[in-house]
């Protein structure tokens, strides 16, 4: 569904991603694991077109998306949930959702605010609250809901568990599995291996902008050496 090959990304003259390759297949939850500054967010931003890729090929459902503007990529059915959440703080919950709204799409679940409030009951209770006056967890739910309003086929989730209380992290894991059941493909980035193990089917490990390991979650669970080398703090 999403294929990245030989991706190189720079910030100015700093080489951040080097020959990065990964793949996400329909119905899968794939996790990109790595420490602080490994290049997880940069990978996501390269995919959605916020940071230009210097070289490499990225295809989404057979369409080349490197060199495309963000909004064109999004309209192909690729949703992006940024790490910093980037809620529109002056807009209410309903208005935030309205910004994300796109027409229904074949082969992807169609979302309405009502359906989203079933998934995130908290949001339904604060429809008219400005985004700036919500807790971190609520904002995290809102960013995901906002992106889902675009009826994506694949969703990029950048560290969704970051900074959330343990209870909310559990909820978040449930939500991701629900999305998977709806038929969505999820590519998520994480530092939190425990969280990744709750939701993901396959994992890539990234370090200094290079993929160092790839395998199923079961394989990773069995491979203490890799976890030790790339993930422990």
């Amino acid at each position: 569904m999403l294929t990245i090959e030989g991706l190189n990304t720079y910030y100015g003259r700093a080489h951040i991603l080097a020959d990065l390759a990964l793949q996400a297949n329909p119905g899968e939850v794939v996790v990109l694991l790595g420490r602080n500054g490994a290049g997880k967010s940069t990978t996501m931003k390269s995919v959605i077109g916020m940071v230009p890729a210097q070289s490499g090929a990225m295809t989404f459902d057979g369409t080349r998306i490197d060199r495309m503007a963000s909004h064109h990529i999004a309209r192909l059915g690729l949703g992006y949930v940024p790490e910093e959440r980037r809620i529109f703080t002056d807009l209410t919950v309903m208005e935030n959702l309205a910004v994300g709204k796109q027409p229904p799409r074949d082969g992807a679940p169609t979302w309405t605010p009502e359906r989203l409030f079933e998934l995130f009951p908290n949001l339904g209770r604060m429809k008219d609250r400005p985004g700036g006056r919500m807790s971190g967890g609520e904002q995290q739910m809102l960013t995901i809901a906002r992106t889902l309003m675009g009826n994506p086929r694949l969703i990029l989730l950048d560290e969704p568990s970051e900074g959330l209380a343990p209870v909310i992290v559990e909820q978040m894991a449930k939500t991701i599995l629900q999305l998977k059941d709806e038929g969505l493909c999820v590519l998520l980035s994480e530092q939190n291996l425990h969280f990744a193990q709750m939701v993901a089917d396959r994992a890539y490990i990234i370090e200094k902008g290079r993929i160092r390991y790839s395998g199923t979650m079961a394989e990773l669970a069995a491979n203490a050496a890799v976890r030790e080398q790339y993930l422990s703090v």
Binding site: G12, R13, I48, G49, M50, A69, S70, H71, A74, R75, Y80, P82, R86, F88, T89, D90, L91, E95, N96, A98, V99, G100, Q102, R146, T147, G150
Partner: protein, 654 residues
């Protein structure tokens, strides 16, 4: 104006009629204020909306207003000035036409530079001001055009025994009406929701699948439409003329800043406040207090800037302003300054030596031009010192240049000091001005700081412009000749060259001295600099004063090189010239302002000699440069060499 209490006569018999007359006067002035506020609000609202989404401070917004006035004039002629349809059709047609012009500007110019540094966008909009002014000159001529009165609304109504124009009643209604419509548009439509979202984070809006370019273009249409409408509705009240662009843009800036950037409601309040203040100053007229005559009419020129200065000091974000984060996805990173190396100094010494040999050519005209270039190089270098290393953009830097001019001139003419001492009075006067104004300015940052500098410049301008007895008013001062030993053109040239070169070199050294490091630390992270115990504000203040001192020296030299000065020396257009020089040369380099001043002065001189439309040509040249080299001339050269060397480095690494 007519029923002003005279302050004489018997108290009781005349008391009640006088109170009634005073009251009527106040009411009428209040209504005048309301009528004036509408147009002001329309322009400011447009400016505010455009700024919100694009974060571009659109200097050409006043020019769009001016086009609105001119187009309304022509369209009403075309549709027929005596029919109601002719008038309102003309007004609406003009507004729509200006909206479309805004679209063309957005698509052709601004769209290409959304990611360029903020100051570069500013330069592009300056260029548009120049181009639009000459376009108006070409199509409508230099004469003021007095517009038609509104068909069907030519009469007056009687309010408290006084006549009030019917048309002004309509104007009073237009302001709140547009405010209401805008509110509905922004809060009750999907388009409005997207605009408000993009105002906060346009990159995120794009990642959610919204086409930003379409959104930006439509926002420009709306903003330009409002400017055009603001101009068009004024046609029965004020003639179409070529100065409107600058006066209106400074008014609109003031309103937006007083109201709070990005707040439409704030703009409305501020427009009311300022229009009322102006109306009352006109209404009160001249008042004698204890024998001295105080002219409130003269005060109208500055009252808005005084209000702005007060508001900004008390509420730095304006009446209803909220802190707006920098728009994401805009470029901000400043590269570090390169150390001043020996080859650099050798080149500088070589250049100065070469310039010193110029009189041998015997071309007197060239010397005149070179004197101008030297003087403006210093002026630009001081402005760059503020904008680059200190991170303070000034829209009113001409104030210090002009204070220098007047300081020197008045010392020579009034104090009868010899020319050498009078020249010393120049930096003294400007330094004093910078000391006072700077103290307020460094309390703000960004656009707000820029606006406050503009306010102080306008206040200084209007004092000098109106104080006929002391400063010669609009005529200026004449008879400023250098001492005997400098009478000769060559001698004066060498004198100027030496002083200017020394000043510029001194400024460069300061940037690289510990003081310069502190300033840059403050610019790059005020919080961090504060945390390590640097009083950023104090150092910025010192920097401000230093820039003011040298700008004044340039002004003093300028005064003696020309022999006469006028309030033009500290007008907005001079400040804009300075900004164009600095931006043309590139803010990121130390040599940039000198290159920019040379190119600008030379271009202005050589084009102006050959065509009436030098502004347009200059503007177009700037646009080409902006679109082709978004780093400025010097920045472009540096980047080109850097690309060359880094390509080699990469080869070596591999």
């Amino acid at each position: 104006m007519a029923a002003r209490p005279s302050g004489r006569g018997h108290f009781f018999p005349s008391f009640f009629p006088r109170v009634a007359a005073l009251l009527a006067n106040i009411v009428i002035q209040f209504m005048n204020g309301l009528a004036g506020a509408s147009s002001l609000f329309l322009v400011a609202a447009g400016l505010s909306i455009i700024f919100g989404v694009s974060r571009i401070v659109n200097f050409a917004h006043g020019s769009l207003y001016m086009l609105g006035v001119y187009l309304a004039y022509s369209l009403i002629e075309f549709f027929g000035r005596s029919s109601i349809f002719g008038f309102w059709g003309g007004v609406l047609g003009a507004a729509i036409a200006v909206g479309l012009i805004g679209v063309v500007i957005e698509v052709l110019v601004l769209r290409r530079i959304y990611r360029a540094p903020e100051l570069f966008q500013l330069l592009a909009t300056f260029a548009l001001v120049l181009v639009i002014k000459d376009a108006a000159l070409y199509f409508w001529g230099a004469e003021d055009l007095v517009g038609p009165r509104a068909a069907g609304l030519r009469g007056a109504v009687e309010i408290m025994g006084k006549r009030f124009p019917q048309y002004d009643l309509v104007l009073i209604a237009i302001g709140p009406l547009v405010l209401g419509l805008l509110w509905l548009l922004l809060n009750r439509t999907r388009w409005g929701t997207l605009v408000r979202a993009a105002t906060q984070d346009r990159e995120m809006v794009g990642a959610l699948g919204v086409n930003q370019s379409g959104l930006f273009t439509s926002v420009f249409f709306l903003g330009a439409f409002l400017a055009g409408l603001g101009g068009a509705v004024q046609i029965p009240r004020e003639p179409a003329q070529l100065m409107l662009d600058i006066t209106v843009i400074s008014d609109a800036f003031v309103v937006v800043v007083v109201g709070g950037m990005g707040s439409i409601g704030g703009a409305f309040l501020a427009a009311l406040l300022i229009a009322q203040a102006k109306a009352f100053c006109i209404g009160i007229g001249d008042v004698s207090i204890f024998g001295a005559t105080l002219s409130f009419t003269k005060f109208t020129l500055v009252v808005e800037f005084v209000i702005m200065a007060i508001v900004l000091v008390v509420r730095p974000l304006g009446l209803l302003g909220k802190l707006q984060g920098a728009q994401r996805g805009a470029a901000t990173v400043e590269p570090p300054l390169y150390p001043l190396t020996r080859p650099f100094w050798i080149a500088v010494v070589g250049l100065v030596a070469l310039l010193a040999l110029m009189p041998l050519g015997g071309d007197d005209y060239l010397l005149v031009l070179l004197i101008d270039i030297a003087v403006f190089s210093v002026f630009a270098a001081t402005l760059h010192f503020l904008m680059g290393p200190s991170g303070m953009v000034s829209f009113g830097h001409a104030a210090y240049f002009g204070l220098g001019c007047y300081g020197a001139a008045l010392a020579l003419l009034k104090l009868k000091l010899p020319m050498e001492l009078a020249l010393l009075a120049a930096p003294l006067a400007s330094g004093l001005g910078a000391l006072v104004f700077g103290w307020f300015c460094v309390r703000l940052s960004g656009v707000y700081l820029a606006m406050l500098t503009l306010a102080f410049a306008q206040i200084s301008w209007s004092v000098i412009y109106q104080w006929d007895a002391f400063t010669g008013g609009s005529n200026g001062l004449v008879g400023l000749w250098p001492s005997e030993w400098l009478k000769d053109r060559t001698a004066f040239y060498l004198f100027t060259l030496a002083l200017c070169a020394a000043s510029i070199i001194f400024l460069w050294r300061v940037v690289h001295a510990p003081f310069g490091y502190v300033l840059r630390a403050g610019r790059d992270s005020a919080l961090r600099a504060d945390a390590i115990g640097i009083d950023v504000r104090r150092f910025q203040w010192y920097g401000f004063i230093l820039a003011g001192v040298f700008a004044g020296l340039a002004g003093g030299l300028f005064a003696f090189s020309k022999g006469s000065i006028s309030p033009e020396t500290l007008a907005v257009s001079r400040s804009v010239d300075g900004l164009v020089m600095v931006l043309l040369g590139g803010v990121q380099t130390l040599t940039g302002p000198v290159a920019g001043a040379a190119v600008f002065t030379w271009l202005q001189d050589s084009i102006a000699r050959n065509t009436e439309y030098w502004r347009a040509i200059l503007g177009l040249a700037i646009l080409v440069i902006v679109l082709a080299f978004p780093q400025g001339i010097a920045g472009f050269l540096k980047q080109a060499t850097a690309r060359f060397t880094s390509a080699r480095e990469r080869e070596v690494v591999r």
